[in-house]
C-alpha cells in the first residue's frame, strides 16, 4: 500500500470521527427543556404537548406546561415524538476485531470489555437509529462463551467512557447449531461438542468445576476468617472465576438459543447449579415454552421476524414476542446486527401486527424491557424523573415506518442531531474532493493502487483470523457473499467457530 493512500484513509477516518465528535457539544448544557412534543413515557402513558426537563444529565421533570428555567437550552419538538432511548439487548458493535474466541469450548476467560473500540462507526449509525445503550456480547461459538458488557453509545468518547456505569457484567452461552458447528466446516479437527447432548454436558462440566473451585475459595476464606494458620490460597483460575460470579448472582447469563428443548435444557442445568438465566437470546422457539421461561423468571430477547436461515430457525414466527409477553415473560426485541439496530422501533411495531400487543407493550420491547433484562431499569428505559436523560426524538410516531430520528441524547447530551449531520455534509464532501485531488497529484506514474481496505498493521492475508468481526446471525437483506468481507449469513457472524 502506498503511503499517500494510507494517509488518505487515515485522514478520511479522522474526518469521519472528528466531524461526529464536533457535532457533540464538549460540555452539555446543564439544563435542557424539550418541549411541545408527544411524550411517550413508556411507564406512565402518553403526554400530548408535553415537555421533558433535563438537569445535569438526568430527567428533572416530565409533563405539560413545564417552564424553561433561566439559561436552559430549549429544544422545540413541536409535532415530534419523544421517547426513552432504545436499548439493544444483543449487539456486537464497538468491538475491536473478532467477537468470538472460538478455539475452546469454554471461553469465559475472554472479555469483550477488553476490546471495546470507541471508533467503530456502527456506534454512530446506531445512535442515528435512536439506540442509546447496548449489551455487547461475545459471539455464539462456544457453549460457554466470553464475558459481556453493557455500554452507552457515547460516540466520540474514549473507550473508558463507554461502559454503562454500575451495570452488571454478563457472560454469553450458546446452544444448538452454532456451538455444535452444524452449518459450516472449520479447518482442523472437530471440536467438542458436536451435539446438543454435548452442549449440555459442556455447560454442566464447566459449572461442576466452578462449584468445586468456589468451595475451595469459600473454605479458604472461612479458614482465614477463623484465623487458622499455615493457609495456602487456592490457585486462581481465570476461566472459572466468571462462572463463580454467575453462581453468586454477580454476573448475568445471556444464552443464545433457538429450539424449545434446549431452552428447557438450560433451565434444568441452571436449576441444578442454582443460577439464573438472565436472558435467553434469539429464543426463536420461546413461544413454545413461554410458561417455563416465565416460571424461571428469565427474560427473552428475540428477533422480530427473522426465520428459515437455518433448521433451528425454521419454526421461528413473528408472533414470538407477543406470545411470550402474554404468558408473562419480560421480552425484548434485539438486533444482533449494526444495521438492524437502526430501526428497532420498527421491529417492535411488528408485534402489534403479529400477536396484537398494545402500542405501549410494543415500545417496551425496545426500551423498558431490555432495561429490566440488563438490570439497568432504575437508570434508563422510561421517561421518569431521576432517570438518565437518554432520549430519542422522532419526526413521526416511532411505531411508524416513516419515523426518522431527529436527535439522540445520552446523559442529557445531544450525541446525534440529524440537522447538524446534514449541515456538515457539504464541507465533508469538499474536504473529500480535495483529498482525492491531492492523492491524484501525488500518484506515481506506474503501479496499481494496492488494496483499498488493506490492513494498516501490514498483516498478510494468510495471517488473518478466520473470524473477523461478524455478528451472530444472518443479516437481513444481506449482500451477496462476495460483496463484503464476511461469510454468508449461515456462518454465524460471531463466527461460532
Amino acid at each position: 500500500m502506498r503511503p499517500a493512500f494510507i494517509l488518505m484513509r487515515a485522514v478520511f477516518l479522522a474526518l469521519a470521527v472528528s466531524f461526529a465528535v464536533g457535532a457533540t457539544p464538549s460540555d452539555a448544557p446543564p439544563v435542557i427543556l424539550i418541549q411541545n412534543a408527544t411524550v411517550l413515557t413508556i411507564s406512565h402513558g402518553v403526554i400530548e404537548h408535553g415537555s421533558v426537563l433535563i438537569k445535569d444529565g438526568k430527567i428533572a421533570a416530565v409533563g405539560q406546561g413545564i417552564k424553561a428555567p433561566d439559561g436552559a437550552q430549549v429544544i422545540d419538538a413541536s409535532g415530534q415524538w419523544v421517547m426513552p432511548g432504545i436499548i439493544d439487548c444483543h449487539s456486537h458493535i464497538a468491538v475491536d476485531g473478532n467477537v468470538n474466541e472460538g478455539s475452546i469450548t469454554v471461553s469465559s476467560i475472554a472479555n469483550i470489555a477488553d476490546v471495546l473500540n470507541p471508533d467503530d462507526r456502527n456506534i454512530y449509525y446506531d445512535l442515528a437509529g435512536g439506540v442509546t445503550a447496548a449489551n455487547i456480547l461475545h459471539g455464539s461459538a462456544n457453549a460457554v462463551g466470553g464475558q459481556t458488557i453493557v455500554i452507552k453509545l457515547r460516540w466520540g468518547q474514549p473507550a473508558a467512557k463507554l461502559p454503562f456505569e454500575g451495570a452488571l457484567p454478563g457472560i454469553k452461552f450458546a446452544l444448538g447449531e452454532n456451538p455444535k458447528r452444524s452449518n459450516f466446516n472449520v479447518p482442523g479437527p472437530r471440536r467438542f461438542p458436536v451435539t446438543r447432548m454435548g452442549v449440555e454436558e459442556a455447560i454442566r462440566a464447566a459449572f461442576t468445576e466452578a462449584r468445586d473451585y468456589k468451595k475451595k475459595w469459600d473454605d479458604y476464606n472461612k479458614a482465614v476468617a477463623a484465623h487458622e494458620k499455615y493457609l495456602f490460597p487456592p490457585r486462581r483460575d481465570l476461566r472459572l472465576e466468571p462462572l463463580v460470579e454467575v453462581l453468586e448472582g454477580k454476573r448475568y447469563v445471556h444464552s443464545h438459543c433457538y429450539r424449545a428443548d434446549e431452552i428447557l435444557m438450560l433451565l434444568r442445568v441452571a436449576k441444578e447449579f442454582g443460577f439464573k438465566v438472565r436472558t435467553f437470546q434469539h429464543v426463536l422457539e420461546g413461544y413454545k415454552v413461554a410458561d417455563e421461561i416465565a416460571a424461571a423468571g428469565s427474560g427473552a430477547s428475540t428477533f422480530s421476524d427473522w426465520w428459515a436461515y437455518k433448521v433451528e430457525a425454521y419454526d421461528a414466527i413473528p408472533y414470538n414476542a407477543a406470545i411470550m409477553t402474554r404468558r408473562g415473560v419480560v421480552v425484548s426485541i434485539n438486533s444482533d446486527d449494526a444495521e438492524e439496530a437502526t430501526h428497532l422501533n420498527q421491529e417492535a411495531a411488528k408485534s402489534i401486527k403479529y400477536g396484537g400487543l398494545t402500542e405501549e407493550e410494543a415500545l417496551k420491547l425496545v426500551t423498558l424491557n431490555p432495561a429490566i433484562q440488563l438490570g439497568i431499569d432504575k437508570r434508563v428505559g422510561s421517561l421518569d424523573v431521576g432517570k438518565d436523560a437518554d432520549i430519542v426524538i422522532y419526526n413521526h410516531h416511532p411505531l411508524s415506518a416513516y419515523a426518522v430520528v431527529q436527535k439522540t441524547l445520552i446523559d442529557g447530551r445531544v450525541y446525534f442531531d440529524r440537522e447538524r449531520d446534514i449541515a456538515a455534509r457539504a464541507d465533508l464532501e469538499k474536504e473529500r474532493r480535495a483529498l482525492v485531488e491531492k492523492e491524484k497529484k501525488s500518484a506515481p506514474a506506474a503501479g496499481g493502487r494496492s488494496g483499498g481496505r488493506g490492513r494498516p498493521d501490514g498483516k498478510k492475508p494468510d495471517e488473518t483470523k478466520p473470524e473477523e468481526k461478524r455478528p451472530d446471525e444472518k443479516k437481513p437483506g444481506g449482500d451477496k457473499p462476495e460483496d463484503k468481507p464476511k461469510p454468508p449469513s449461515f456462518f454465524p457472524r460471531g463466527g461460532a467457530l
Binding site: Y125, P476, P481, K486
Partner: protein
C-alpha cells in the same frame, strides 16, 4: 383383497364422478369460466392508474379485473365483499427473490438457487420453484402476490460462488398447486453476475478473509469481463446462424440456444452490480454489445445516475434498510438513494433479494419515503415499476380492466408496519392468508398452561 380397480369397475357412476372430480381439480385453477364474479364494494381503491377512488367497486371475473370505479354494475350472482373502511391496491410485486428455490438457506439440500459453472443461460427458475415452499404463503400474507424467482441471485444460499450467466428468472404468482398454475411468464430476464473488483473477500477454502492487491483484483476483473465478451461473441454467432436457419450445419448447443432471445432483444439481462465502478463497467460493456440490461442491486447507483438515465437503464434496488456502502458516505445513504434516483429520472423498482425477508418489502419502500421519495413512487416501485421493467405491465401493476386480478384489500397504508392484509386475490381467486407462522401461533397461543 378388494382391489380398488374392481371397485371402480363395479360402479360406473362412481368412476365418472371420480373422473369429473379429478378433471375439475386439474382444470379449475386454469379456467375461471365457471367461477362466479367477485365484487369488492365500498372500498377506497388505489388503482395506481389515476387518483384514488372513494367508495368504489372493483369487479373480478375470470381471473381478471373486469371493472373498477364508482358507477360499476355488480354482475348478477357475483360474490360481494363489502370492503367499507378498507383499501384496495394492486398486489405487491417483489422483483428479485429466490422464492421456491431456497427453503432453509443453511441447508444445501433445500437450496436450488445457483448452478455450478460460469455460464448457465439454459437453467430456468421455474424448473425448480417448489410450489409447496413454506415461504410462499408466508410471503403472500404480507400482500405480495407475485415475485420474480431469480436464479443465481446471491443471498445466503450460495456457496460463495455465483456463475457469470446465472440462468433465466421466472415471474410467478404466489399461489397455485403446480408451477404451471403459478407461472406468469417462464422467462423474464437472463441473470448476469457482473464480475466484481473486491480486494477483500471471504475465502471458503481457508475459512478466512482474503485480501489481495487492487492491481491483481483489477486484472482478474478484466480477465473475467473478457471471458464474458468472448463467450457472448460465440453465443451471438450461434444466434446469427439460427436467424439464418443455418443451425443444421452446426452441433446444437443448449446454452447458446438459450441466449437467442437475448440477442433478439426479447429477453433483458438482469445484471447484478453494486459498486459504482462495476455498474459503470457493466453499462458500458453491454452498451457496446447492444444488449438491453436491467441493473440489480445498485447500492451505489446514485454515483452513476446520469449514465443510467441517459442510457435509460432501470435498476432493481436492494433493501433500503442497510448501512452506507462506504464509510465516508452519509449514514442514511441507502435510504436517500431512491429519492435521488427518482429526482434524476432513473427508473427503479425495490425488491427484497431474499426469501425470509421478502415480507420486509413494504417496510423498505416506506424507508425510501421517510427519506424523501414521493409516496406514489414508493408504492409503484413495488407494484407497477417492476411490472414495467420486466414487460409485464399489460398484465400487472395497476388495477385496470383487463389486467390479471392480483389485488390486496388492506386495513390501511400497505407500506405501514401495522397494516393488515384482509383479502388477497391472486389471478382472480380469493387466496388464503393462512401460513405456517399463523398456524404455529394459533397452536402455541392456545397451549394449556404448563404444569408448575
Amino acid at each position: 383383497m378388494n382391489s380398488p380397480v374392481l371397485k371402480r369397475r363395479s360402479s360406473n357412476s362412481k368412476l365418472v364422478r371420480l373422473l369429473v372430480a379429478v378433471l375439475c381439480f386439474i382444470f379449475a385453477p386454469l379456467s375461471h369460466a365457471q367461477s362466479p364474479a367477485i365484487a369488492i364494494t365500498h372500498a377506497k381503491i388505489f388503482t395506481l392508474a389515476g387518483p384514488p377512488i372513494e367508495d368504489g367497486t372493483l369487479v373480478i371475473r375470470e381471473g381478471k379485473i373486469a371493472a373498477v370505479g364508482t358507477q360499476v354494475e355488480i354482475p348478477a350472482g357475483a360474490q360481494v365483499i363489502d370492503a367499507k373502511g378498507l383499501q384496495v391496491y394492486p398486489g405487491l410485486f417483489d422483483a428479485v427473490t429466490q422464492m421456491g428455490l431456497s427453503e432453509i438457506s443453511a441447508v444445501s439440500a433445500t437450496v436450488d438457487s445457483s448452478e455450478t459453472g460460469a455460464f448457465n443461460p439454459d437453467v430456468v427458475a421455474a424448473a425448480a420453484v417448489h410450489p409447496a415452499s413454506e415461504h410462499i404463503p408466508v410471503t403472500r400474507a404480507a400482500g405480495i402476490s407475485e415475485v420474480i424467482s431469480t436464479p443465481s441471485s446471491g443471498g445466503f444460499d450460495s456457496a460463495g460462488e455465483n456463475g457469470v450467466v446465472g440462468g433465466q428468472a421466472s415471474a410467478v404468482h404466489l399461489a397455485g398447486w403446480t408451477i404451471d398454475e403459478m407461472l406468469i411468464r417462464k422467462s423474464v430476464a437472463m441473470v448476469v453476475n457482473w464480475p466484481q473488483m473486491q480486494t477483500r473477500s471471504f475465502d471458503f477454502n481457508t475459512f478466512s478473509i482474503r485480501e489481495r492487491p487492487f492491481a491483481e483484483v483489477k486484472q482478474e476483473y478484466e480477465r473475467r469481463v473478457n471471458e464474458l465478451g468472448d463467450w457472448l461473441d460465440r453465443a451471438r454467432h450461434y444466434a446469427q446462424a439460427a436467424g439464418q436457419n443455418a443451425l443444421s450445419q452446426y452441433d446444437r448447443d443448449t446454452k447458446f440456444e438459450a441466449m437467442i432471445p437475448v440477442f433478439r432483444g426479447d429477453l433483458p439481462l438482469l445484471v447484478f452490480a453494486n459498486r459504482a465502478r462495476e455498474i459503470r463497467g457493466a453499462v458500458e460493456f453491454f452498451d457496446k454489445q447492444k444488449l438491453r440490461i436491467v441493473i440489480a442491486g445498485g447500492n451505489e447507483a446514485y454515483a452513476v445516475k446520469d449514465l443510467l438515465r441517459s442510457k435509460k437503464i432501470p435498476v432493481i434496488l436492494r433493501a433500503m434498510l442497510r448501512l452506507p456502502p462506504e464509510e465516508d458516505e452519509p449514514y442514511d445513504r441507502s435510504m436517500t438513494q431512491p429519492a435521488e434516483l427518482a429526482k434524476a429520472g432513473v427508473k427503479f423498482a425495490i425488491a427484497s433479494f431474499d426469501n425470509s425477508f421478502a415480507r420486509r418489502l413494504s417496510q423498505n419502500a416506506a424507508a425510501a419515503v421517510a427519506y424523501g421519495l414521493p409516496y406514489d413512487d414508493a408504492l409503484k416501485a413495488i407494484t407497477l415499476y417492476p411490472a414495467q421493467i420486466f414487460g409485464l405491465d399489460k398484465e400487472l401493476g395497476t388495477l385496470e380492466p383487463g389486467k390479471l386480478a392480483n389485488v390486496i384489500v388492506t386495513t390501511g397504508d400497505p407500506l405501514e408496519l401495522t397494516t393488515d392484509v384482509k383479502y388477497l386475490f391472486i389471478h382472480g381467486r380469493l387466496t388464503s392468508l393462512e401460513n405456517k407462522h399463523h398456524q404455529l401461533y394459533e397452536k402455541y397461543a392456545n397451549r394449556p398452561k404448563a404444569a408448575e
